[in-house]
Amino acid sequence: MAKGFYTDTTACIGCKACQVACHQWNDIPAAEGGRTELSGDSYDNTQTLSAENWRHVKFIEQINEDRTQEGFLQGSRWLMMSDVCKHCVHAACLEVCPTGAIIRTEFDSVFIQQDACNGCRACVAACPFGVVDIGRDGKAHKCTMCYDRLQNGREPACAQACPTESIRFGDIPDLMALADARVAQLQAQHINAYVYGKSDIVGGLNAFYVLVDEPHVYGLPEKPELASKNVDEGFALSGVAAAALAVTGLVSFRKSRMDEKAAAEAEDHP
């Protein structure tokens, strides 16, 4: 049974408990010893997922100039979203990993086995969401969906810490039913809500979201693609090219043979 995260961004209060819980459980030190810099990007001083930040809360201020608001999420609003590895159903990082370090677990999450990772960075380039990053140890790191906690019957630290149940953990079908209900509820309030992470997104995301604006507003790709997307086409084109080469080669060889023959005949009958 696939397990994962359903994040209702309309319930996120931007408290960053998810970020702190993740650091604490996985014993990841703070960036720069905790002495980072004010980014100026709303309340987001983390800025990106990285080898050290496996959860990252984004803040998107959409306050109109006359500061009017017609209702919840209508008119001026401040969107908040806790970004995380999507644990894709079709995972690009898993596809390209040459050593087999990246595996699909029994929970359907995507996990990087540190002892098999050689730091080649193929996964960093392949991930359409910019999740994976190389750490100071030269290895690739990202959210493990708290694999150790799952194996002991617990939910991930971020889901446990989230005070408003914006982040929920559980069986994907159950979570998707909740998400669909929430989308219906929001649309009834004239809010353009939808699920980001159904099967149209790289086969589905095991960490999916209810969003209320275009994906690019949240820094997410509209149509993320796998590295292997060009493989079939590539093979086919290679086949075509091989055939073209073969035909050209045959034609050229025949012509050359014909020219040889013609030249030999001309010598015999001056």
């Binding site: 209060i13 905790g34 004010l38 309340y43 201020e61 005070p163």
Partner: protein, 888 residues
């Protein structure tokens, strides 16, 4: 109300609070309400993380909340939206007020009884009609002003047993509370609200209509507030205005309705229940005061502080039981149960006067436990300079916080002149000791010890116990009458365990109380007596440990609603106070949808989802008889039993020093002339015209920007619990000030650019966060800019930065001396200009000890003169009295 009850609200207004930011876990119940279809409204100068979750955010200028709330009162009355049956039965709307009373409409913002020379009110004209004792003839034996040796029994000035209030049930009498209320708020129209607050009349009316549509029999609404309401020179009146709104709408004591006070620390509720406050004894018994001659005796104290009708008529039992717990066998009928041992306050000893006393070399030693005044105190520079006057100073904390090393402050250039001897005694963290928290809904929850502390870290329980033991040894055998009280104290605790400290459960047992003779735990405060047979530390907590081995604070049985099996809420495990009001005068729920507590005619008692906040078997039909006093004076439909008339007070005839009704006054520092009255500010606010505290005059063009202070989710208070933890500091690493793009453009300040913020008291440098979440206001036709700064930073920790508390002046609410930190004025300029601006500030606090030997002698002789004067005149004056010796 309790936080979980918010899920039953049909409308929640968060005001004077940024609840999602500061109470993120409690905020889940607001989210649950929203899931069920409730409307969430956030009223705040800034668009915050709470606003992001709300259906409507209304921006109002800092310091204008009474105008907005008063506007709601006016709207409710004018549009006839008040809950009539509730108001008639449960409020004092029909009570008639003294003919001597004059209100703000007649006196241009003042109330009757104002003495401009003393800057205080004589409050007798505010009383209910005919309820005051006639003034005694001078020289008569019962003259309360006749000095300490007053003959005859002390008599209370107000005694409803002999002079009950009069009412007009038709609410037409011109001096009934309802008519007074109506006249008082008549000019708080939507247009006036717009002029004072800066929101549009339409925004205001939308809030008013939503609130009214969600109140009444079938629907209830709640307010959630925090220090955005309390930290003003009219802080207490802010809350009063909200309680008038909620009483008119019939929301008090109802499920999903009422007012939730969001307190700011894990156990600050506990710190006022079992108080570390100078003016309160445990359980909100008033501390005796040397200024009131009636307080010389226990009987006099009872007559002066305890009403004779309503629940507080039981007050003597709680006081005697407390004295018995504190003084044991040394508390006897002959010595008034040890009342003579209690110290009497001689003035206002709260935070600001205390630091002034340090500054004046009156206080020589100071123990600072789990607090950080060097960074967190208002006008923090003044606080630091004051501490430099101390002879000795003990700090107990987890880290070497700013206060522990106050001499390292950047504004103290030469610490070598400071003679203070500082002791830093490291404390345990919460997880290294056991004990209880009392949270914001009055609920006690026990926490176990998770780990033993290391090195020299010791708990406060260890510290207090061993300090007592050593002092006791030093005092042993003393015959000085002054030491008698200390020697008479009981100490029932033994030490235990590897840390050799008392067991927290033993303290809880004292708090709960026991029978004096055989130490059987008391079950409920109904069993407490005034004959010395019971001893009880905190009467409101009685019932938390009702039997040996039973600790209800540790109970963890939850259910879908009131969860009476989880923790222990005082009093008597009631979760919603005054829940009698959730039923109508006949004892039936106002509606099926809002059923909570009701009268069961078969069992002849009150039943429901909560512990009824009412005598269990007092029938709704029971008649009251004033002459009988106590609870018998009240009839079966009086829900607000802690008031002497059992009614919710729309109008407060006593208890407050600045008015029976809230009026909008401008903050002490403001850019605006009060649009409502000629009285500009709270006429009796506490002020300190001292060096280092120069105030900004109203409308001073040098300081044109309104500024407020606030918290971020990522940090806690002045920083000791967050700026030492890198996982938190990386989330919000630097101090900043939030300004609107309009203000930024005017000042040439860029996003994340440096700027300098200053007031006459201090200048700080910080980066600017330019955001549309702040906006300029139009107030009474003037364009006024609003800025905001978090107050979490100072000079010690993993991350450091400018301290917003340095900017704030010492000025306070006169009822409780809470400082005004949420609305004041400032100037902001681009660039890092602190050094050059400091040189021009008119009134910086000089950081070095000012008082030399000559000033010290002058202060001491002034005190001697004062005592002599008091003895001559025959009464003590409070230390903060303008005629008194000590202008603390």
């Amino acid at each position: 109300m309790f936080q979980q009850d918010l899920q039953n609200a049909d409308c929640i207004i968060v005001m004077g609070s940024n609840m999602a930011e500061c109470h993120p876990v409690g905020f889940r119940w607001v989210m649950k309400a929203r899931e069920r279809g409730a409307t969430i409204i956030h009223i705040d100068p800034r668009f915050t993380r709470t606003s992001a979750m709300s259906d409507q955010h209304v921006a109002i200028r800092s310091g204008s909340d009474i105008a907005f709330l008063g506007g709601l009162v006016n709207y409710i009355i004018q549009h006839d939206r008040w809950f009539k049956e509730y108001v008639h039965a449960y409020t004092n709307a029909s009570t008639i007020v003294s003919s001597d009373f004059k209100g703000a409409e007649e006196l241009d913002g003042l109330f009757s009884g104002f003495d401009p020379a003393k800057r205080e009110y004589a409050t007798t004209s505010w009383a209910y009609d005919g309820t005051l004792a006639p003034p005694p003839r001078a020289g008569s034996p019962t003259n309360p002003n006749g000095g300490h040796a007053a003959a005859g029994p002390p008599t209370p000035a107000v005694d409803f047993r002999v002079r009950p209030p009069k009412t007009d049930p038709t609410l037409q009498h011109p001096r009934c509370v309802f008519q007074i209320l109506k006249r008082h708020y008549a000019r708080y129209t939507p247009d006036m609200v717009s002029r004072v607050c800066g929101c549009s009349p339409e925004e205001f009316e939308r809030v008013a209509k939503t609130l009214c549509d969600n109140s009444g029999r079938e629907r209830t609404s709640s307010f959630c507030y925090a220090v955005g309401w309390t930290q003003h020179t009219v802080g207490v009146q802010y809350i009063r205005t909200a309680s008038i709104v909620q009483a008119l709408l019939g929301n008090m004591g109802r499920p999903g309705g009422g007012i939730l006070a969001l307190r700011g620390h894990a156990s600050i509720q506990g710190s006022t229940d079992v108080p570390t406050l100078y003016h309160l004894l445990p359980g909100y018994l008033p501390s005796p005061s040397a200024a009131d001659p009636q307080h010389d005796t226990l009987d006099g104290w009872v007559a002066s502080t305890m009403p004779t009708t309503g629940w507080w008529a039981n007050g003597r039992k709680y006081m005697v039981s407390l004295l018995k717990m504190w003084y044991g066998d040394a508390a006897t009928p002959e010595n008034q149960w040890g009342y003579e041992y209690l110290p009497k306050s001689v003035g206002d000893h709260s935070h600001i006067p205390m630091f002034k006393a340090m500054s004046d070399d009156v206080i020589k030693g100071f123990m600072c436990i789990g607090q950080n005044p060097a960074a967190g105190g208002q006008n923090a520079i003044y606080n630091r300079a004051a501490m430099a006057h101390l002879d000795w100073f003990v700090v107990r904390d987890l880290f070497r916080i700013e206060t522990a090393e106050f001499w390292k402050a950047p504004d103290i250039p030469d610490p070598s002149v400071i003679n203070t001897e500082v002791f830093f005694l490291p404390s345990t963290s919460v997880t290294e000791s056991e004990g209880s928290f009392t949270n914001t809904q009055r609920m006690l929850q026990w926490h176990d010890k998770g780990a033993e502390p290391t090195d020299d870290c010791r708990s406060d329980l260890w510290f207090t116990h061993h300090l007592y033991k050593r002092l006791r040894k030093l005092y042993e055998g003393s015959a000085d009458p002054r030491d008698a009280a200390f020697l008479a104290m009981t100490w029932n605790l033994d030490i235990d365990g590897p840390m050799q400290e008392p067991k927290a459960l033993d303290v809880l047992a004292e708090i709960n109380g026991w029978t004096t003779a055989d130490r059987v735990p008391v079950q409920t405060f109904l069993d407490l007596k005034d004959d010395g047979s019971t001893s009880c530390g905190v009467w409101i907590y009685t019932g938390v440990a009702p039997a040996p081995g039973v600790n209800k604070a540790q109970a963890r049985v939850a259910d879908a609603y009131t969860s009476l099996g989880w923790g222990f809420a005082w009093p008597a495990n009631r979760r919603t106070l005054y829940n009698r009001a959730s039923a109508d005068p006949d004892g039936k729920p106002w509606s099926e949808r809002k059923r909570y507590v009701w009268w069961d005619e078969t069992q002849k008692k009150w039943v429901g989802y909560d512990v009824p906040d009412y005598p269990a078997t007092k029938a709704p039909s029971s008649k009251g008889d004033w002459a009988k006093g106590g609870m018998d004076a009240l009839d079966g439909s009086t829900a607000f039993i802690m008031q002497r008339d059992g009614k919710a007070w729309l109008y407060a005839p006593s208890g407050l020093v600045d008015g029976p009704l809230p009026a909008h006054y401008e903050p002490w520092e403001t850019g605006v002339k009060n649009p409502l009255y000629g009285t500009q500010q709270n006429p009796v606010a506490k002020v300190w015209n001292i060096v280092g505290n120069r105030y900004i005059d109203a409308g001073d063009p040098n300081y044109p920007i309104v500024i407020t202070t606030y918290r971020l989710t990522e940090h806690h208070l002045s920083g000791p619990m967050s700026r030492w933890s890198p996982w938190l500091t990386e989330l919000q690493p630097e101090m900043f000030i939030e300004i609107s793009p309009e203000l930024a453009a005017e000042k040439g300040i860029e996003n994340v650019g440096w700027c300098t913020v200053y007031t006459p008291r201090a200048a700080i440098e910080c980066k600017a966060l330019v955001t549309r979440r702040l906006k300029p206001f139009t107030i009474a036709g003037q364009r006024i800019h609003q800025a905001g700064a978090p107050f979490h930073w100072s000079w010690a920790g993993v991350v450091t930065g400018g301290n917003a508390n340095d900017l704030i002046a010492l000025v306070a609410d006169p009822n409780v001396t809470i400082h005004e930190g949420k609305a004041f004025m400032c100037q902001i300029v681009a660039g890092r200009k602190q050094a050059e601006i400091l040189a021009t500030l008119p009134d910086q606090t000089r950081p070095l000890p000012l008082v030399g030997r000559r000033e010290k002698r002058a202060a001491e002789s002034a005190i001697d003169e004062g005592i002599e004067l008091a003895e001559r005149v025959g009464r003590y004056l409070p230390l903060d009295h303008p005629e008194g010796v000590y202008h603390g």
